[in-house]
Symmetry: C2
Subunit: 151 residues, 2 copies
């Protein structure tokens, strides 16, 4: 049973809090077995899953989206190498998009620095509408709901 991790060990190795792990489990993102005394024991592969979750979060995905992605895997949960390849390819695309958006925004900023934009006539930054209008809490623009054209 050296192959099993306690929640504390997993937390340490994955770089997350134990409370976060319990939360992931509650949401169904990871799973565990229990000891006779009802304590969680995680398979090593769960460490991999948690790493994937954190990476996906950095890409900008919500836990709901990550859950969906993990659910879509053939052997649900605990992604294999080819699963990971599939997922990361998709995420890379989204990441590319977000990077593109930020670069576009940066270009607008550059144009605006000292351009007299404050006239509000032609400045892209100061004319909303085609830029991401709805971005509530957090970075939601990456999910593909809508993509600001910045044309």
């Amino acid at each position: 049973m050296d192959d099993y991790l306690t929640i504390g060990d997993l937390a340490k190795r994955a770089g997350v809090a134990t409370s976060a792990l319990r939360y992931y489990e509650e949401r169904g993102l990871i799973s565990s077995e229990r000891t006779d005394g009802n304590q969680r024991r995680y398979q090593r592969s769960v460490l991999r899953t948690v790493s994937v979750i954190r990476a996906a979060q950095e890409v900008g995905l919500t836990l709901a989206e990550i859950e969906q992605a993990l659910d879509s895997l053939p052997n649900s949960r605990a992604p294999t190498k080819s699963d990971w390849t599939k997922l990361s390819r998709g995420w890379r695309t989204q990441l590319d998009e977000r990077i593109g958006e930020l670069i576009a925004l940066r270009d607008e900023l550059d144009d605006c620095i000292g351009c007299g934009c404050l006239s509000l006539r032609s400045c892209a930054l100061f004319n909303p509408g085609d830029r991401a209008a709805t971005f509530g809490t957090g970075a939601r623009y990456i999910t593909g709901d809508e993509r600001p054209s910045l044309s």
Copy 2:
């Protein structure tokens, strides 16, 4: 008094909800005058301020940080061209940093796609610790609290 905007007009032209404008005002980010009947009337310059606020949010700043930036302006609120230049230069820097982070993450993803990372031995993505460990809700990594080195 054609120079004044109602809250509905401002909302439409700025691309935000009226509730958001009241919220900004409550937080002290924008200000208004009142009619005899106690309705808000905004100066045209407020449209500019709202645009600046939205742009800054897209850069990744919180309202608290934006408020601080606006407060730091000599003629507080309603930024002039040179104020805007100052602000946008600073924001551009942060934007650059965030873009750099995302690009680094993308490179990691690329390395990981089909590299056998799942061994968990040497993969940057799968070895947390030096990557941004704390990013709660939203894009907090841009604020300079901590910068992941991704070394």
